[in-house]
């Protein structure tokens, strides 16, 4: 394992002794798909599609899929497998070999910082879905009569207000605790018995529940004969009828590109970690393609046929437009529960809907946690149970301000810098490192190694020129459009300033702590390499 590479020979080379490997090829594809399939597939996509030109949205969506989605997926699989052969499951080690520079490992620390930072608040969102699944089963929200009532129900659950349903966040904390304990348990079982095993049943269950819900929605017809225009065909029309004029609007193109980016979970550092558990001869091309297509199947063919069409069938087009404008969470947590109240067998279908979101979410949480797990295991030789306990404990501790300060915009602040801006920035960095610093020809060869199909030459030029330019433009637009407003806290009430600053402090402290750990890890390697005393 001391093959000559582009990167420095010392002190990074350690034989990847004891690193786990995926047990089956189908297992790795399903684990990668599980990483990509998230809550956004079922809530964010239908809202984006309906708001941005309907069927016409699919034109920029498929273009972004071809120019950003597929190339980035192959690049991240390629970087991950490349790093794995040197025993590195995270981007500090991977970048160390791609870029022969002392700074490389510190730039790579972003690939642990982003997923772990996102995990801290994403767990909380995942726990809401588990809670709502339980509320559906027990019928807790079935007495809430209106959309406004459901908005208050959610706000009280989150501790923003108090009402007869919730006085504080105790219930929310219990479900968060269950979510984090379950996540910790899965992580402690390792890559094969934990992640691969859960993904192997989790993804098919997601598809089975999704198919059942799609069938229920498509067979609804006209639920209320008093409103004949409120029917499923009109719901599908609202979702799919193309508005070609929307294509002249640059915001529609940005929305489609953003949707492709987030749905495939590229730029998070998670795909690289999962791919590091491949062997050097494993294919990444067909497996990567299977991952993106599985994700698209769940998003377009399941996500596109549930929430929006059923909302139109029950509330009509005007009210659905208002719900869609209020965002994906409003659709999922406020509109859908009202529909389950009216639907025959609504308690069962509500339970299934939120359980579907929970499985999709927890599988993504698992992927978000794995980079920091791999970092502790690979660079500090911690066993997986200790690493899982540390990660689970940190998640519990750091989620406290997310829960307590939610009403002050704490979660939104973290989500913008980590989950929106940070991931696109990291994608730009990694593509430049791989295609330009490491070298386009070597990168191309690395991706095609062991490939089960010929990769069209078109993708070589796309990866080298088109994808980085496309992403940089996206990043620039976002920063100009939203970033400056968020940075200077425009529209944020003065009483929320301390909480927004606290969120920024927490993110900065987390990043500095990870940079220090990377420094320590490399010092440790150096000592081992030269057999120096500690």
């Amino acid at each position: 394992m001391t093959k000559k590479t582009n990167g420095p020979e010392a002190p990074g080379i350690l034989k990847p002794k004891g690193r786990e490997r995926w047990a089956t090829r189908m297992g790795v594809v399903l684990a990668m798909a599980a990483n990509a399939i998230g809550i956004g597939n079922f809530l964010r996509f239908p809202v984006q599609c309906a708001q941005n030109g309907g069927g016409a949205f699919m034109i920029p969506y498929f273009i972004a899929f071809l120019l950003i989605g597929i190339p980035l997926m192959w690049i991240e699989w390629g970087i991950g497998r490349f790093g794995g052969k040197y025993g590195h499951g995270t981007t500090p080690g991977m970048f160390h070999y791609l870029w022969n520079h002392p700074l490389a490992k510190y730039v790579g620390a972003i690939g642990i910082f982003l997923p772990f930072g996102i995990l801290i608040y994403y767990n909380y969102i995942v726990s809401w879905t588990l809670a709502y699944s339980a509320f559906s089963l027990t019928g807790k929200y079935f007495s809430v009569p209106s959309h406004g009532g459901m908005v208050d129900f959610l706000a009280a659950y989150q501790g923003k207000i108090q009402n007869t349903y919730f006085q504080d966040t105790t219930t929310a904390c219990i479900f968060l605790f269950i979510t984090i304990v379950f996540l910790t348990w899965v992580l402690s079982r390792g890559v094969v018995k934990g992640i691969e095993a859960l993904s192997t049943w989790g993804v098919p269950v997601t598809f089975a529940i999704g198919a059942l819900l799609v069938w229920r929605v498509l067979t609804l017809g006209t639920p209320d004969p008093a409103y004949p225009e409120r029917n499923i065909l009109n719901g599908l029309g609202f979702m799919w009828n193309p508005n070609f004029a929307a294509l002249k609007n640059s915001k529609v193109w940005l929305a489609a590109t953003g949707q492709i980016f987030f749905t495939l979970s590229v730029g998070f550092g998670c795909i690289q970690t999962y791919a590091s558990y491949l062997s050097e001869k494993d294919d990444v091309v067909v497996s990567g393609l299977a991952t993106v297509s599985t994700n698209e199947f769940s998003e377009v063919l399941i996500g596109g046929f549930i929430a929006i069409p059923v909302t139109v069938a029950y509330f009509g087009i005007l009210e659905t437009e208002q719900i869609a404008q209020a965002g994906a969470f409003d659709l999922g947590f406020c509109a859908m529960p009202l529909i389950f109240q009216k639907l025959a067998g609504g308690q069962i279908f509500g339970t299934l809907w939120f359980f579907l979101l929970f499985i999709a979410g927890i599988l993504s949480s698992m992927a978000l946690a794995q980079p920091v797990m791999a970092f502790l295991q690979d660079e500090f030789k911690l066993n997986r149970k200790h690493a899982a306990l540390i990660v689970g404990g940190l998640c519990l501790f750091l989620s406290v301000p997310v829960v307590v300060f939610l009403k002050h915009g704490f979660l939104d602040e973290m989500d913008f810098w980590l989950g929106t801006f940070g991931v696109v920035l990291f994608a730009v960095i990694e593509i430049i490192l791989f295609m330009w610093v490491f070298g386009a020809r070597k990168a191309w060869k690395e991706i095609r190694k062991g490939a089960d199909m010929k990769v069209p030459r078109f993708f070589f030029f796309t990866m080298r020129y088109v994808t980085p330019v496309y992403l940089t433009v996206l990043l620039g637009f976002w920063f100009a459009q939203d970033g400056i407003h968020v940075l200077f806290m425009k529209g944020v009430a003065a009483q929320h300033y301390p909480y927004v600053w606290f969120a920024r402090f927490l993110m900065t402290a987390l990043l500095l702590a990870l940079l220090f750990l990377v420094h320590l890890a490399w010092q440790r390697k150096h000592r081992i390499q030269h057999r120096l005393p500690a």
Binding site: M26, G55, F62, L301
Partner: protein, 31 residues
């Protein structure tokens, strides 16, 4: 839903299904 809506919905479904079937067929039939 109008005819264009049907066309876009069907085409999207066909493209994604074809890609999914192709990639899994390649994986499952690999010797």
């Amino acid at each position: 839903m109008n005819i264009s809506g049907w066309i876009f919905m069907t085409l999207s479904a066909l493209v994604i299904t074809a890609l999914t079937v192709f990639s899994f067929w390649k994986i499952l039939t690999k010797k």
